[in-house]
Subunit: 164 residues, 2 copies
DNA sequence: GTGATTGCAAACTTTTTGCATCCGA
DNA sequence: TCGGATGCAAAAAGTTTGCAATCAC
């Protein structure tokens, strides 16, 4: 992400280029593919700028979401999360988020691209006149390692039951 | 929804059949397809049982979600929402929620069934060993009537610009 | 200089929890 | 009777807001 493009975007919206805004974007760019909470971003920011306030983090994240530089998402754990947007700027029409598979066992989030919703979106447009601009897909389940742990635990339990 | 089945489910989990639990389930059953917040359910419950407490609503909703009688969902507006589950009881394996199309213009939520994710889920299982147990699909966009309103507004704006 | 931005604290909102009382089995 | 359930109020937890001081332009 080019810093100058960011400065340009801010100027176009008559927003000021501040140290805080540059820092937050830089941090997000340094953590691509992660789904950071405001608190996590706050902690990272404090390492480089201890005086920064949590309210500034929230306000800055909102600015970056408005500029479509960040995506705001939820993993249903009570925190809003943010990640670097994949297609910055003009390519907005095609801006379809990647999807998330959330392991119910360990909470690990797997991200993946795949546009399988075109048929669905077309059908919606035809049947309801609803035009889709964005979609969010969350899959819940169990990752390989949790499935294996689960198997182990089942073996243990069977053994325990026999012993008991 | 058969009340006796519910009582049976409660007994199996050693939970008590209370007036509050019966009331909340009855209210939810009377509003199928709606996506009610805890506050909305609280208001409905108070009409029939003014002494009921909001904490009871939350605790009861949790019980009903655990029993898979309700689905908890989020429309990204800061409220948890609840709706009657489509397939109660045993058919849990096939229990795939319907999806939601949320209009960014007016907030209307359109629900629809369609299982187009089988391919995606199969691919995840093969590639990652991730086994999907549930999914949530949200589509954002504009409904027919908001699109028409938008067109009108555009016409207005053009006229205004000419006049100005 | 001037208006946007920041940091701090307080407020707000939704949800959860502690506890005395109540009620279902 | 007795342990779970309830209602109330207080607490939590994430986020937003008011305001004086500060900073960008």
């Amino acid at each position: 992400m080019n810093e100058n493009i960011f400065k340009q975007m801010l100027k176009e919206k008559k927003l000021k280029v501040t140290r805080q805004r540059l820092l937050v974007l830089e941090l997000m760019a340094a953590h691509p593919g992660e789904h950071l909470t405001a608190e996590e971003i706050y902690a990272l920011a404090q390492e480089r700028y201890p005086e920064i306030g949590l309210a500034t983090i929230y306000r800055t994240l909102q600015v970056l979401v408005d500029l479509q530089l960040l995506d705001k998402l939820s993993l249903d754990d009570g925190f809003a999360r943010y990640e670097l947007s994949q297609l910055p700027g003009e390519a907005q029409e095609k801006r379809h988020h990647h999807h998330h598979a959330i392991c119910s066992g360990c909470g690990t989030v797997f991200s993946f691209e795949e546009d399988l919703l075109d048929t669905l979106e077309q059908s919606l447009r035809e049947r309801l006149g609803f035009v889709v601009t964005d979609h969010e897909v969350k899959l819940f389940g169990y990752c390989r390692s949790c499935i294996e742990k689960q198997k182990d635990r089942h073996s243990d339990r069977q053994i325990m039951e026999v012993i008991d």
